[in-house]
Symmetry: C2
Subunit: 411 residues, 2 copies
């Protein structure tokens, strides 16, 4: 696959994430699909590490997703193996054999049970993934584990991503420093329906499996589940959070513990930043678009309308063309199938009111609106004036770059 230019929305710098006590990793070139780049990540956790996760709701999940769904029931993790270049999805019995063998190789390399190994794969669907690719590689990786830099881990899981995605938070709880590091990959087939394609969060917080799962599910809702690049939900969406428990404080064992809220908010910050980075690296993206819907009859209704706008090819191509074509927002509200009254609807781009009371705003200023559309970070606001339901969805524009990348991905 040809290299694609780096997204114009790429961050100017990347955070230098600190060590997380109890987490070490290594990367390798297994030659699964790409040449001359790392394509396997092995992360190893100290005994006692708990894990929580959210996985795709696709009816055709990958073999790795099936494996994680099973292993999450134990709640304990000692290793994570991620490969890019092959999704191991729709690979039948071969796929099941492949994940089983890969887990066996990892378990042998790090001396744990296979059901404490978590697996994730992204890339082409339908191509068998030969587990022999991992056999020698994993043993070697286990012999050269490091605690940093996380940049290496973020790079090893990239597919069509044009930049690595990292985010971290360091908080103090009762005078003890707790670290949360996260990495993610995109960047097409992104309309997460439980999680993004792949994201992994590592923390030294002492927290129970149940509390970690509850916080992850809650914070995922407004981060990864609030983004869409192309409305296409992956077979491989996987978000896993690993907590080693090595920060020196009593364990957080209930959701009512006041420290759970502090930790949850920081976790949410990390997930939100990773989700936004994923949109900013959406295939072909040149603009980040935040769609706010308010005044809907319910939050659920607002969410459907916001996604109808964020997934509309006509809205996304107009934004790519820097065209303040608010009529297409009207169209997307109208087609959503949710309660809406045309003559109460108002629409704004940023702070500029462009339509209200069912027609173009009397104060509409074409020059000001066109100037606004030239920005890289745009907001579309819709007020239905029917109730108090609201939702925010993040997306990107639809450009020639998306067609370039996806017209020739597999070959």
């Amino acid at each position: 696959m040809a290299a694609h230019p780096v997204s114009p929305l790429a961050p100017i710098s990347y955070p230098d994430l600190p060590e997380v006590a109890g987490v070490r990793f290594a990367t390798a070139e297994a030659g699964i699909k790409y040449k001359n780049r790392t394509d396997v990540l092995l992360a190893v956790f100290e005994p006692g590490t708990v894990v929580a996760g959210v996985l795709t709701r696709s009816k055709c999940p990958s073999a790795a997703v099936d494996w994680c769904r099973q292993s999450l029931q134990g709640g304990q993790a000692r290793a994570l193996v991620v490969n890019s270049g092959n999704a191991n999805a729709f690979t039948g019995q071969k796929g099941r054999d492949s994940v089983g063998k890969t887990a066996d190789y990892a378990a042998a390399a790090v001396d744990c049970n296979p059901d404490e190994v978590f697996l994730a794969s992204t890339g082409v669907i339908g191509e068998p993934l030969d587990p022999q690719k991992f056999e020698g590689v994993l043993a070697g990786m286990a012999g050269r584990l490091v605690a940093t830099p996380y940049m290496d881990a973020a790079r090893a899981i990239m597919t069509t991503d044009t930049f690595p995605k990292l985010s971290g938070a360091t908080i103090e709880i009762d005078g003890v420093t707790v670290t949360i590091n996260g990495i993610a990959k995109g960047s097409g087939m992104i309309a997460p329906d439980m999680a993004t394609m792949l994201s992994f969060v590592f923390t030294d917080a002492p927290i129970s499996h149940g509390v970690l799962q509850a916080l992850l599910t809650e914070q995922n809702r407004t981060s990864f589940n609030a983004i869409t690049v192309d409305s296409d939900t992956s077979t491989s969406d996987t978000l896993l959070a690993f907590a080693t428990g090595l920060a020196d404080m009593p364990a957080i064992n209930t959701i009512e513990d006041p420290r759970a809220a502090v930790f949850g908010a920081a976790l949410g910050d990390v997930l939100s930043e990773l989700a936004l980075l994923t949109v900013k690296d959406g295939e072909g993206a040149t603009k980040l678009v935040t769609v706010h819907v308010e005044g809907a009859v319910s939050d659920e209704s607002a969410d459907v309308i916001a996604r109808s706008i964020a997934n509309s090819p006509l809205v996304k191509t107009a934004i790519a063309g820097e065209d303040a074509n608010w009529g297409r927002i009207v169209m997307a509200v109208g087609k959503a199938g949710e309660p809406a009254e045309r003559d109460k609807l108002s629409i704004r781009f940023g702070d500029l009111l462009v339509a209200s009371d069912g027609e173009r705003s009397p104060n509409y200023d074409e020059a000001a609106t066109s100037a606004y559309m030239k920005g890289q970070d745009l907001e579309v606001g819709v007020d239905l004036q029917l109730g108090s339901g609201r939702a925010t969805i993040y997306t990107c524009d639809l450009t020639h770059g998306y067609i370039d990348i996806n017209g020739s991905y597999r070959s």
Copy 2:
């Protein structure tokens, strides 16, 4: 707007539709948006003409759609006024005034009641449509009505269409010839949710308003409601059928009349051809794609899955790139939210089985499949093996042409 190249899927020739007794029309250049091309169609019907219609289910319908919904209750038609270049949608009180005045001008020009005038507008949303544009034009048009050629009528209603869309059928019922002529326009914002953007059918069949409506609704379901270009449902979708009743036979007054089925089948042929022409002129289209889903738990479930495939940007860009990327079909089935069992699923391109029993087919032939993808008329078949539900949806590929057209439509 720059002219776009004619779709490679355009027909090689156009039918020379015959006169329909009781139907005459004229076209004009009103200068609504486009220069040097006709943009208004006036069709005039003999007294006694009945009308049936299906209109967009958008919650933000155009003023013309609201007008038609009201006038359809009367079931009588004497005139149809269609303009291209301005949708008169989301134009508030100005839009309501505009349709009222336009109907008044047309009624005066052809000497009928305003509620016997039907209106349709497509083009930009949100721009007020000045009814004065029609005032002088309509009186002049009424003075130069003709019975043919329908090509002129089809051209006057085009917006981003790259070719006119016409279809006709001539049938014999009890020895009497009945003519059905139809025209349609596309070609973006096409995911009809009751009808296409605009289509008009003219017949001399003597048929009651009620039977015509029943047949139109039924035949629309598998024609216009079975196509999607971009998943975006228009504010202006309008399909109207006018029957002058001048063919010399007793009237068809009940759906049980055996002649109703004969007429309905011919009407269905005309609607299906117009719908396929609309897809073939989908913005940027280079391939016609027929998605067949069978083995679903119900026809409704099959329809949702077929639309999930037909609307997937990743499926459509892969087809544009002539890439037999069947993994994206798996993805689209998986994300549809309908019952599906990964390990029973089979997928074919044309007659080539590419995946079965949850993995790549043992007989998969990359060379043969790649050769098939180079065709212009492609079939995607999915068998869920769960039940007997089936559906067929027609779509086109997603290309650079779509981005070109829609990144600069309004400006």
